[in-house]
Structures are given as C-alpha cells and as structure tokens.
Subunit: 115 residues, 2 copies
Amino acid sequence: MDYYSHQLDSIFLALADPTRRAVIGRLGTGPASISDLAKPFDMALPSFMKHIRLLEETGLVETRKQGRVRTCTLEKKRFALVDGWLSAQRAIWEARTDRLEAFVTATQSKEEKSR
Amino acid sequence: MDYYSHQLDSIFLALADPTRRAVIGRLGTGPASISDLAKPFDMALPSFMKHIRLLEETGLVETRKQGRVRTCTLEKKRFALVDGWLSAQRAIWEARTDRLEAFVTATQSKEEKSR
DNA sequence: AAAACACTTAGCCATTGCGCTAACTATCAT
DNA sequence: ATGATAGTTAGCGCAATGGCTAAGTGTTTT
C-alpha cells in the first residue's frame, strides 16, 4: 500500500510538466533519439536532458546508448500504477455510492421503484 | 488541446503528494471538515491547509464554510481529465500497434487468417 | 587528421513546494 | 462575557524544479 506511494509521487510529478507529457506522447508512437525528441522544444539541450533523465528515473522511459546516440523508449507498463491508483479511488466512490443507493432505495422503497 | 495543458499540470502536481492523495482517498468516502481531514497527519494545521487550498485551486476538491467549519467534498468529475489524458496516450499506442499489426499481418499473410 | 555531431558535465540562478511558528479572527458553548 | 474551537494570515527556511551558459567527451564523417 505504502510501497507504491513514493513511486506514485515521482510518476505524478513526472507527468506534471507539459514538456515531459509531450515527450511521452511522442514516444507513444515509437522510440526516438534525444535530439529528435528535443527538436520541437525551444529549450537548451541540457535543460531538455533533465526531463529525459527524470522520466528515466521514474521508469516511464527507458534509454539505451549505442555509439553517440541515446535512444528512448516508452515503458508503457509503468502507467499501470496510475491506472491502479485511479481505479482504487473509483472503487472507494463506488463503495460509498452503493451504500448511498442502498439508503436511498430503502428510504423510498415505500413509494417508487421505476427509473 | 493545449488549453488543458495547464490544468493537467496542476492536477498531476496535486496528485504527486502522498498527503494530498490520502486526503483524496478519505474524501472519496464522503465530505469532511478540515480538522477531521487533518487529524491523521502529523503536520501543523497551516501546512495541512496549504494542501487543501492547492487541491481546491486545481478543482479536485470543493469547500464550503458554514459557521466556523469548512467542509470539503471531492470533485470527482475532475478526474476525467486524467482519464482523458491516459486514454489519449493509449490511443496513440494502439494506433502504432495497429500499424505494427498490419505490418506483421501483411508479412505473414501467407499463412494466417484475415482481419 | 580535422571537423561535425550527439550528447554530457558542471555550475549558476530564479521560482516554487512544503514544512514550521506565532499571532489573529470568527464562531459556538457555558 | 470567557474560553474553547476551527480556521486563517503572515512570514521564515530549506530543498527541489526548471531554466540557462560554457566547456568537455566520445563517435562518426569527410
């Protein structure tokens, strides 16, 4: 339960930046090199690299260097943690909704049932 | 497309903190006052309040004050933005997978069924 | 061998995030 | 009216984030 906490921290933090989300979007279509990825952004390379490194540290992106080119790929499995958290929240809501529905149903069971 | 960007920034940032995620979890079971919410946390009230205010600013939580008590409720709709972004990413992956599948299918079309 | 390329390292800077204490305001209870 | 309760405001401090420039490393290309 709490094990995921730190991972969620870093994943959500990683997603909280438009540059990084854009990189993720781009990598969704397939692997790319650093400079390919950097091209669309009006940003010095070292600044851009920090984003890549952060994405790598959170496990959302994996990189491999061959020769002088570093190729980045998206680690899609990693998004399961986000999904997991979201659906856990929804499960909580549903549980409450069920209780509420039970209450509402019980309360109005004297008069109506349609709709 | 880009209009949502800032909202996603702030939502993901809001989710990138364990205290705030815990608050969200708690509010998932129903509304609560500030001090009720704060109880489980070993943190000064003003510090805790900052989290609440941030959650409110991002629209994930709504608050209303009656008398001296401020009641917080979860704005569940807000999570749709996260869902939306996630499924947009998945759509990108699928598109690529489709292309890849088309390729694989075409390549091995001598032996296998159509699609 | 020299030049171009693709990063990489180091270090600076401004802003923001997240915690604190101290002191204040506005109810509500007695 | 006193005092407890529930927030609120103001301001401090430290670490992390997100940008930059300048200079360096290791690979390819010519």
